[in-house]
Amino acid sequence: MEHWIDFAKGPLFALTFMIMLLGLLRLVVIQVYSLLTGKGRRLRNAPWRKILGEAASWIVPVKHLIPGTKIFSIVSFTFHIGIILVPLFLADHIVLWERWLGINLPQIGYGLADFLTLFTIACIIVLFGFRILSPRLRAMSMRSDYVLLLLVFLPFASGFLASHPTYNPLPWDVMMLTHLLSAELLFVVIPFTKLAHIVLFFFDRISGLHWQLRPGAGDRVAEALYGEEARV
């Protein structure tokens, strides 16, 4: 088992992490490339101030709460706090960054990390519950939405159990290996699913430029979809 853990911590970690970085880089490059080649002229006249302002306001989306989905929105926002802070700044992870990237990050204390981990797990459970119980959300959800939530849940839960031997029903190394492998699976999945919003978020507001429709475009879409008599 020790060998497997070493392998998962070593080459496999480097491999999956590189796949994630390159995959995300690929998305950024394609975005920038397509903006420059396809929308070059429009970029020059783009309302940058408005776009950046909107992007900033969406980072903390207090303004964008829609009545009726408030709890879901708030939970899905706060869910991101733990999901960003714990993987990056947990003491045990800092060692990994130092070993592979040679950077020293500050660490958050174990108490805070434990709290954030449990909080994130709770958020995942709430979100999952909403997607199952609320008819509106269930209608909007695809199979991948449930699977991705589970994929995020696994490393958090296994990581918490591995670091708290008292609550851990399984041997430490089994739990550790689960933690490592599930996190690595997540790395590979990120660039190819909607988890890619890690980087694509920053292009979201610019995508308005992609979708500026010509006058009368709606009629043409309807025509293409439903035949000539269709009205929008």
Partner: protein, 655 residues
Amino acid sequence: MTDRTRVTKDILWALALAGLVAAILRLWFGLGATTALSDAVPWGLWKILNMVGGVALSTSGFTVGFLVYVLRIERFKPFMKPAILIAFLGYGCSCLALLFDIGLPHRFWHPIVMWNINSFLFEVFWCVMLYFTVTAIELAPLFLEKLKAAKAVRFLHRIAVGVVIIGISLSSLHHSSLGSLFLVTPQRLHPLWYTPWLPLLFIVSAMGAGLMVVVLIRILWARWYDPTSVFGLPAARRPSVTAVSNGGSVSPYDRGPEGPQFPAIRSMASIAGSILAVYAGLKLLDLLLYGGWTSLMAGTWESWLFLGELALTALIPAVLMAIPRVRRSPAGVAIAAGSAALGLAMNRLSVGIFGYFHDIGAIYFPSLVEWAVALGVVAAAGLVLFWVGEHFPVFGERPPVSRSTAGLFQLSYGSLRQLWKTALTNSLHRVTYVAVFIIPVAFILMYPPYRADSSPADPIRPARGVDIERTVLEIDGDHGGVMTRFAHAEHQQRLGDSASCVFCHHVCLPGDKSTPCSRCHRRMNQATCIFEHDFHTRAVAEKEELGGIHPENHSCMHCHGESGLESPTTARSCLDCHKEDMYPMQAASQAEDLMHAISFREAMHRTCVACHERSMLVFNRPDLSECRTCHQSLQPRQPQESTMAHRGGEGLGPM
């Protein structure tokens, strides 16, 4: 563009990207850490497969040029552009691979200004360089026409014949010289391949196989982009098509009405077949004349290799081309051509690697980096071939019309199927997907420190004492058979007896005073981790009487403290515990990193050269800092030794 070309291109991209990663690692870590080359086996895959083999396979430019411009065979004119393109790319990727093979790539231009007129390599260098330029000039009109530089194109057309003639003479010079390279070392090369006729055999086989390569690529191109031109009408085409795609499982005797281009291809393949038949005759005659016959009858693996390679290069293509029914089928011709190309590559590998190192007992198997670079440059050349063929009128009057690709904005994450549908129709998406997976995989597989972790790649041979007192040591760290004699006692005496141990034995194992260099510097080209973590966790638990096993017994905290951070930076200094038993302490306490020992090569050079450079000034002995002071093999050879006498493993490299 069919799905098959797409997949072919994806594979080429994967190989080329892996080659790129390998090339960067080679430049970053050096030859020793990334390749299986050594002093005993200095010529590996890159020189033999890419240079000697690759150049031989790209003779097309000169042979087709000879047929078209000197013999005036008009019907071969459509082959001229593909042939030149293949020659250009072949030479280009050979030179590129060689760039990674030479020790200091940034000095590749040295033979241009520093002439060593006694070397065959000097001639080869100049010919290859000039011929590469010639192919570039011959190819230039293609691009200039697109740029509408009419004047330049007219000028190039006027000098075309002259350029072709220069190209032909350069080619005939260096193709034979590549064979002459191996004449220099008669004792090294296996008698089956060693013959004074090597230059002749090299050029004849290269001419035949070079033509076959043009034939093969022409047929493949037709298969991909323009089947009717070679394979005839669609209905009649099917049987022979499958034969090409599954490498000949369908009998090549099926035939339908052939395309308009095929007769010219067939007659070119016939010419190549006859040249290869001549080559086979020469080879057999040579066996009889120079006594290779006995080695062939010996039944060793070399004799089987020789037979197989001769069959592939010459016998199979010549026989296939002699059968009328095979000759009339594109698939049959393609098989003959493929066999010849494969056989030629095998032949050069036999001469340069399999037959060349038979006497020293060293087993050479190229490292992953070598394979990746060797195949990567070829794949890159293939991609350039695709690109040029698709955008310029090389294989036909006008380039094949490429179908429009799906737009960039069709990115959709709705479902995996949708995702792949978009990805698979857009070449940018395909290439980037390939890159995202191939680059990390290639990196992990080839990054030298990872490889070293799993197996000691280049273990050191410890220094041996010539006498029982170890007054003189023989150092041959890399098993190369070239000894460096180190007068141990003499150095000790000169530097001040027992007080001087510390100068070289700077850090010793606990309890030891003169740990040998090879104990810590365990690998020739790479650093070694010398800190045994498991041993220490056990020892700490034992000494501190901790119950339970690691990590439950909290032995981690003993060295790493209670912060929970377990990394080399949080660990306590070794000397905290080993104050008493690590000798000599001063050097150990000054060492920045007691966890890693630098490579043996670096350790030796730093220790010896640094001291020699200081002493050089003190004692006014400039020779002390020269390489040959220690490396005896670099000392000028005695007159009687400079004859062709072979010196076994002790000699210099092959060149």
